[in-house]
Symmetry: C2
Subunit: 335 residues, 2 copies
DNA sequence: TTGTATGCGTTATCAG
DNA sequence: CTGATAACGCATACAA
């Protein structure tokens, strides 16, 4: 910068003013400086600017992995939105382990992100105390269910209970009487799995159908998990005519395994997923799903985070947002 | 840091030495400093360190979008590898336009990444001149085909021609005589599409089958593109008994449309994709594909980039790597 | 409208 | 083994 200043016959301060588009720079000076900048190929040194300003313009995004379609699509929305807001996004993959999620949290401050959006799977509200101390004033938005904010974080959620309830109710309305839940959980705790399982359970109760443990298949939210879940159900000789899959990925795996077992969808078994990832519409049969308002969630997360970064939100007050959900009916539940 | 130094009764330099694990610090001093660091909750300021060191530890990754499974899975591998190497990755989404790809290139130096991995779609070798000036010494690795390096970039490629040739040959061996290519291109130029089309063409020639323009369906590499391509083929009354899809995403869209038209896979039409994304194995029918050695490509790209960042490669000499490919046969081509 | 002085937090250098 | 000093490149406050 000093070289530019010398070349243009001005002070470094004037160069700085030109670079940052400040007022009070005469046309002629500006032109002279710009010409020099151009000629010398000068670029601002972001590290120095960061040091000076105390901010980096970088938001961290911690997710299990961008290879999972759900997170890939979410990350795409967040990156796009962040770019529009003048931020960049560093993606950290946690692999869904509690340790690395905590690591990301710590890391986020070490690395000097301006803020962090974290979608936890391993880390839950039981870790709230540790989180609070780990974060202490640092802008963090929790995305998803495991961290429900617990009054210490801004939180973007989706309509897990209502969505799963709608999905299950939809199957029941189509005549299913033995509806299994793939990815469901019997355990306690707050997670996407347990909340959606609760929604499933409510729908059964509402319809006067019994809750049967044998219809709850606990699996990881992966293609392999979905396929294995169906195989297990069949192997155990459990009869079912409906399948609520807690994610679309799980559902796509299930469709595959159902085909392997010669079970027709939707004739023998009606299947519905959750997330409405793009692939759902192109599956064979196309997959009914619950669309959780991805873009609204991404927008909300970015808004909350940038407001907090800007200090526009009071330290103690935390916001909660739940995406609007919508049932999307396709072939897998009979169109 | 100065506060820590004061608290520990040493100089900032000693604190720095402790933080960076330098030798020549006595046990007792180290312990005292660490204790103070802990007590005061001190964290190194990365911006200052960056300013001092002239590097940021950040690698830019420019891809069309991480919502496309192929790029999502690639990004996941790169992020994981980069993390292992002590780098972080900022993801820039270009949306596959030439302008934003150029923008990413410019941006990469403005933002002070240590290097950039770029997978271009719009930008091609015809832009080589502009690229050269844009980059000029900055560490960049081109991933994919459009930028073949042109002797000015390190380049990680995949076996496009050989892979497509193997895929097409496989269909022919299974008895297909009218093999269409979905996503193929008639135009000139170097791109994944044109290279794979060339491979397809070679295989036809090798088998003594005629090259027919009507069997070349030019489409975007999306689910929608795949479905639309098949619809167009059927609508035009073009007979085909084999379908080489230039990406798996295209193939999954095609499978969907084939089902819509009542065409059985593999009985009426055999289908093969390219990329071997995870979903291929779980499609109904499961999708044969060409696995292009994703992880080897990711490793190679990171190795090349980090070596160049470290200045371990001569300025003028550029490296070329082609991933090992492998045909993966599944149901869609008859198992 | 432009320039001067100063400090952001680190670390390399070199003296002690 | 430890410490004083300078410098990385920029932008704020203030003076001219």
């Amino acid at each position: 910068m000093s070289e530019v200043a010398k070349a243009a016959g001005v002070s470094v301060m004037t160069v700085s003013n030109v670079v940052n588009g400040h007022r009070y720079v005469s046309e002629t000076t500006r032109d002279r400086v710009l010409e020099a900048i151009d000629r010398l190929g000068y670029r601002v040194n972001v590290a120095a600017r960061n040091l000076r300003s105390g901010s980096t313009g970088i938001i961290g995004l911690a997710v299990p992995g961008v290879d999972a379609p759900y997170f890939g699509q979410l990350a795409a929305l967040l990156i796009e939105g962040a770019t529009r807001l003048g931020y960049q996004i560093v993606v950290e993959q946690t692999g869904a382990t509690r340790e690395s999620e905590l690591g990301a949290l710590t890391h986020s401050r070490l690395r000097m992100y301006d803020g962090l959006i974290i979608s936890t799977v391993g880390l839950g509200n039981e870790d709230a105390e540790q989180l609070r101390s780990e974060i202490s004033g640092f802008p963090v938005v929790a995305l998803g269910e495991r961290l429900s904010g617990a009054g210490a974080l801004d939180h973007v959620a989706m309509a897990n209970v209502a969505g799963a309830l709608d999905a299950t109710r939809h199957l029941v309305e189509r005549g299913c009487r033995r509806v299994a839940v793939l990815g469901g959980t019997l355990g306690p705790g707050v997670s996407a799995g347990s909340l959606r399982t609760a929604g499933y359970r409510s729908a059964l109760a509402e319809a006067g159908l019994p809750w049967r443990e044998e219809l709850v298949v606990e699996r990881e939210f992966t293609l392999g998990g979905g396929a294995a879940g169906v195989r297990a159900l069949v192997a155990a000789g459990v009869a079912f005519d409906g399948l609520v899959c807690l994610t679309d990925t799980l559902a796509l795996g299930a469709l595959r395994a159902l085909a392997d077992h010669g079970l027709a969808v939707p004739d023998d078994v009606r299947v519905i997923g959750f997330d409405d990832i793009e692939q759902a519409a192109y599956a064979v049969p196309s997959l009914s799903s619950v669309a959780p308002g991805h873009s609204e969630m991404a927008d909300a997360a970015l808004r909350m985070l940038t407001e907090r970064i800007a200090g526009r939100r009071p330290e103690g007050a935390f916001e909660e947002f739940t995406g609007p959900h919508r049932l999307v009916v396709r072939e897998s539940t009979g169109g």
